[in-house]
């Protein structure tokens, strides 16, 4: 059995015939699976060790699609009902955004035919592809780099995590959040009130409003709220000392960050980019760098696997820490 917390919730959300195949995958491989993909009338695939592979009826994993289990249209129809626990009406907003969060904090991305109304996406129908993302909650990934993120006076820097997709930025962000919220004994750092704006339910993986991931004891989560509104809302309502949010990129996000910093609240966030230079090329995000909003930059890659820390830079872009460094995969 997979040791990942609440992994059975992923199995429950798979159509029975696919579930049977998946549980036949040997345990040690199943532990490594990061994604399970269903595409109608095409082979069932899993993504592990940075590669997409096919799964046969007997649960063997290979590169050859000829023996693979073929996902039927019934599977796809059933999957949607199982993912929503037969409560599709409760997930209208999520479906519009293209993903549903499962109990346990796992997310399922969906594609299908968009139904438009007045130019806006009303819903998706004929769902033809599913991506079950088996997120990892790696407790302690941030441990080694924490000393670079805490000020000498035991405060928190404004931190920007820069990472290409699938390099573990949300996992790292969550872990940093947890440490800052709980307090870091070995650095003499006392826990701070943290407010997390979790627009896409990725940081805390809320299910019915309850965080499914450990985000720390002093963390308040505003689930499913647009970042720009959420950051301001949190500051007004919960008086956090640190605001955490994921994947900034829109103009209004930057304005909100500006406002947050004006109130003296610290901010920790992430952005999609390969490095600082890459970031400078993006019109909206350029300002964030040139205006020196952030005091620490953590740059990630997947050179040694997801979650590799390449560099940590200070506010003047001097290198404080040079990787690649990656904490061993001891906990998943």
């Amino acid at each position: 059995m997979n040791t990942r917390k609440n992994f059975e919730e992923v199995l429950y959300a798979l159509p029975p015939s696919v579930r049977e195949v998946i549980i036949k995958i040997p345990d040690d491989l199943l532990q490594e699976v990061e994604e399970i993909r269903l595409r109608v009338n095409r082979p069932l695939t899993v993504y592990l060790k940075n590669e997409e592979k096919f799964v046969s009826k007997e649960g063997t994993i290979s590169f050859s699609p000829s023996l693979a289990y073929i996902v039927t249209s019934e599977d796809c129809e059933k999957a949607l009902q199982l993912i929503s626990k037969s409560s599709l009406y409760a997930f209208e907003e999520e479906i519009r955004n293209g993903y549903i969060t499962l109990k346990g904090g796992y997310r399922v991305g969906i594609v299908g035919k968009c139904v438009l109304e007045n130019g806006y996406i009303k819903t998706l129908k004929n769902i033809s592809g599913y991506n079950y993302r088996i997120s990892k909650e790696i407790i302690g990934v941030a441990e080694e780099i924490l000393k670079y993120l805490i000020t000498p006076s035991k405060g928190v820097y404004n931190i920007l995590i820069i990472s290409p997709p699938q390099c573990g930025k949300t996992t790292l962000l969550r872990d940093i959040t947890r440490w800052i919220s709980n307090g870091i004994d070995f650095l003499g750092f006392k826990g701070k009130k943290v407010g997390a704006v979790d627009e896409r339910s990725e940081i805390a993986g809320c299910y019915n409003g309850i965080p499914q991931m450990d985000v720390g004891i002093r963390t308040d989560v505003l689930d499913g709220c647009p970042k720009a509104y959420g950051m301001i809302m949190l500051i007004r309502s919960m008086s956090p000392e640190v605001v955490v949010t994921d994947e900034i990129g829109k103009k209004e996000d930057i304005e909100a960050i500006h406002e947050v910093l004006n109130t003296g609240v610290k901010i920790i966030t992430t952005v999609h980019a390969n490095d600082i230079e890459d970031l400078m090329k993006k019109p909206v995000l350029k300002d964030v760098i040139s205006l020196r909003y952030f005091e620490r930059y953590v740059i990630l890659s997947n050179r040694l696997g997801a979650g590799t820390v390449e560099k940590i830079l200070d506010e003047n872009f001097n290198t404080l820490f040079k990787g690649p460094y990656r904490r061993g995969r001891t906990e998943k």
């Binding site: 059975e8 029975p16 009902q81 626990k85 037969s86 009406y89 409760a90």
Partner: protein, 170 residues
Amino acid sequence: MKLLGIVLVIFSTSSLGYLFALKYKMRSWILKSMISSLNLFKIEVTYSKAPLGEILMAISRSSDKSIKFVFSKTGMILSQNEGHTAGEAWEIALNEWDNGYLKKEDVEILRSFGYGLGNSDVYNQEKNFDLAIELLKRQLSDAEEESKKNEKLYKNIGVLAGLATSILFL
């Protein structure tokens, strides 16, 4: 002695008559309970948007005992996470439900209601509920009419048959 026999005969035949009459009454009663439970169900789905499993359990607690089973069984099947959709679970529950009082058409309405259960947005869910409730209401008025007609008939037949038998024996 004879008198006692007569009383017994009349008593038993009229009980039989009442029993037949009860059948009609029960059908109306079940339909009425079902309509009110479905109304509650509809409100939970469209307003609170809670997960179906939870709603079913809540409805089963507040439902009349004649129909409790359908809701609790469907909710139970869903909570077991064996890969059944709500429609399938509802179908299983209906098939296991001891509904000797209902007519086949009544059950069919419930069955087709199940096909649409939980698999669409709020707007369409509401339509599904409204349709089932509307159809059940028609069945109810039909049942009430029938029961008005037949209840008296069966009760009278029961008593009269008892009297007739006694007279024959005398």
